[in-house]
């Protein structure tokens, strides 16, 4: 990973009508980095990515993407970026091979046939290249889309929920492939709703309602939010959760299997709140997980924006 920036934008803003969907977001992604982009549904992740590759006109903002002006040079950006859309957007009435061939022609790849064959090989779809893309299962569509994004050897990959609906084994393979490619110098901006994937990113950013709430490494993000969390096990956790919620100092009480995670942003207030319930249960102070932090961020930003 170098200090060179693949993405360096600031002030990125997008409005639909009078709704601001992406609000003044700045983002720096280094070359060779795997950057996680997280946030609740409708927070503006897809919109932001579309602005980066020139699919949506930004209402404000400036900066560069792979050294090209993000507002004015979208043609050059497109040539060097692989964008995997959230919704499958290849041609369902074309076969796997025909889709890849189309992309390869579009980018004018030298040795097109070999490139397509190699890509099919890597996908593990050698016997099925004549199958129509529309007949693939959801997970296989995702893999095809990723293969198609890679065929023109882009320098930057914008992957919008690439692993949604993909089984755990395939997800692990996918992330291994991502890390290998990153080691070769490719840069990734990946949106995901999975915490384990977030933890596999070098750095991440969290946005909600169009606002960038926090960014950095996993550790930095957790520390930055400064959430204190207790894990409790014992009898009747459901009613305990009900009683704790709404108490001063308690921001959230979330069940994790047969444990309950109780968090608050003021450690002392939190301890005071749980004191009456210590009896008969086993309480341990734990490091807040990413999920605790994100749920907390989501709740807090909802409070801010509803107000």
């Amino acid at each position: 990973m170098s200090e060179e920036l693949a993405i360096d934008v600031r002030g990125m803003t997008k409005r639909f009508g009078d709704r601001t969907v992406v609000n003044d977001i700045a983002l720096q992604v280094r070359v060779g980095e795997i950057y996680g982009f997280l946030g609740p549904n409708g927070s503006g992740k897809t919109t932001f990515i579309r602005m980066l590759c020139g699919l949506l006109r930004a209402d404000g903002g400036s900066g560069t993407c792979l050294g090209h002006d993000v507002i004015r040079e979208s043609e050059s950006i497109k040539r060097n970026v692989g964008y995997m859309t959230q919704r499958f957007s290849f041609y369902e009435d074309l076969s796997i091979a025909e889709n890849l061939d189309f992309v390869a022609r579009m980018y004018g790849i030298p040795g097109r046939r070999e490139a397509v064959n190699a890509s099919i090989e890597r996908l593990g779809l050698s016997g099925r290249q004549k199958q129509l893309a529309g007949e693939l299962s959801g997970g296989w569509k995702q893999r095809l889309a990723l293969a198609a994004c890679l065929i023109h050897q882009p320098k930057l990959l914008l992957l919008d929920e690439p692993t949604a609906g993909v089984d755990p084994k395939a997800r692990r393979d996918f992330w291994e492939q991502i890390h290998e490619l990153a080691a070769e110098g490719l840069t990734f901006l990946i949106t995901t709703h999975y915490m384990d994937e977030a933890e596999r990113c070098h750095r991440l950013a969290y946005i909600a309602y169009g606002n960038l709430l926090t960014h950095g490494t996993v550790r930095e993000v957790i520390d930055h939010v400064g959430l204190a969390t207790w894990s409790v096990s014992g009898p009747d956790l459901a009613s305990l959760a009900r009683q704790l919620r709404g108490k001063a100092g308690v921001r959230q009480a979330v069940a994790f299997g047969n444990m309950l995670h109780v968090s608050g942003d003021d450690p002392e207030a939190l301890e005071r709140a749980i004191a009456p319930f210590r009896e008969g249960r086993e309480w341990t102070k734990i490091r807040s997980g990413l999920e605790d932090v994100f749920i907390h961020l989501m709740d807090r930003s909802k409070d801010n924006f509803d107000a």
Binding site: L55, L56, R57, E73, V81, T85, S89, R105, G108
Partner: protein, 380 residues
């Protein structure tokens, strides 16, 4: 950096190959594009028949002389009239007409043969149910010459002078003959233009909106393409389809309707290229403007209807008011009708049809330019 890269033939080929594969796979649309010409030709070629024959007629025979019989036979032999009955009174004839049981009542007056031979030019009164003038026009128009022809044999020898200038019989119907309407000869070539307009505009009218609605536009736009590559790439495969349609129509009109082919086939095919391109350009431009497939369909019909009404396909072009003619000149169909009828029926050459080819080319160029300008490069 070279931000604005030029038009790329390679990306155009990519689009063409893709569109062609998709077209081939869309079996229903493909079958329709080939089936529509045949079905429409058969339907309209036979159904829109402005030379109806075997129309039911009644006759009031007040005279039974030889010449009266000749007239009757001649009418029957013309195949325009089928004499379904003989009436005794004029009143009876009127009733039949009123009830729509006959289309004509032909009155052969008393002493018809005698007056004819005397050279008194006896009158034959033809009463026609003219509610549908198109249905009766031809049959009426044929009358005078029919009588003249029929009586030629009877008026031989001493009576020959009667076959002279004014005609031996005074037919009391005014001829509605419209020499431009040679029925299927006129309609079948016209149908070629109508069918091409309909299928070509409709099929490309959906091209861009379909990409948008299927979500594939997001992918297409994320690639470094130029609008012209996308639009032309979507047009080219359908030029071939257009030619297949032209071929089918020409075969059917030759073998089923025996439409003559006086001019050059090559010239016709060349002119068809410009016409097909004009329609495809119009379709693709509609689809860049339309927000969804429904809108695209509506716009297609918005263009299609006036094309049919003002081009001279439905109504004789010269019969329309000037403003309508002026409007009609805009539509490609108007020019193509002149071209195709001219080449097929009049044997027109390049010099004759070029007058109508350049407006087609101009139309295609202007419309396609609008399409390229209107093509949205973003998802906004």
């Amino acid at each position: 950096m070279n931000e604005r890269s030029g038009f790329s033939a390679q990306r155009l080929v990519a689009m063409i190959v893709k569109e062609f594969t998709q077209m081939r796979r869309d079996k229903l649309t493909f079958a329709m594009m080939l089936g529509i010409p045949v079905i429409q030709l058969l339907l309209f070629g036979y159904a829109i028949n402005s030379d109806p024959r075997h129309l039911p007629a009644a006759v009031l025979m007040a005279d039974h002389g030889p010449q009266a019989r000749t007239i009757l036979h001649a009418l029957q032999n013309s195949t325009y009239y089928d004499f379904v009955r003989e009436v005794k009174t004029e009143r009876e004839g009127r009733d039949l007409l009123a009830r729509g049981q006959v289309q004509f009542v032909i009155n052969i007056p008393q002493n018809f043969s005698r007056d004819l031979v005397r050279g008194d030019r006896p009158a034959i009164l033809v009463e026609a149910d003219a509610t549908d003038p198109a249905a009766t026009g031809q049959a009426l128009g044929a009358l005078t010459s029919l009588f003249d022809q029929a009586l030629i044999n009877d008026l031989k020898g001493p009576l020959e002078f009667l076959a002279g200038t004014a005609g031996p019989v005074d037919v009391r119907v005014h001829a509605l003959y419209n020499p431009e309407v040679i029925t299927q000869y006129n309609i079948v070539p016209g149908l070629m233009g109508v069918i091409l307009t309909m299928t070509m505009v409709m099929i490309t009218g959906l091209a861009i909106t379909r990409e948008r609605e299927r979500g594939t536009m997001e992918n297409l736009l994320s690639m470094p393409t130029r609008p012209s590559e996308v639009l032309i790439g979507k047009i080219v495969p359908y030029i071939m389809v257009g030619y297949v349609q032209v071929g089918i129509i020409l075969l059917v009109s030759h073998y089923l309707f025996h439409v003559p082919m006086l001019g050059s086939l090559t010239l016709l095919l060349a002119a068809a290229f410009v016409f097909i391109a004009a329609n495809l350009s119009l379709g693709i431009t509609i689809s860049t403007v339309a927000k969804n497939q429904l809108q695209a369909m509506q716009m297609t019909f918005f263009v299609f209807l006036p094309s049919i009404l003002l081009s001279g396909f439905m109504f004789p072009f010269r019969g329309m008011p000037h403003w309508a003619q002026w409007l009609g000149e805009i539509f490609p169909l108007t020019h193509f009708l002149r071209i195709v009828r001219g080449i097929l029926l009049k044997g027109n050459g390049l010099a004759d049809v070029s007058r109508d080819i350049w407006p087609l080319a101009l139309f295609a160029a202007i419309v396609l330019t609008v399409g390229v300008k209107r093509y949205r490069r973003t998802l906004d």
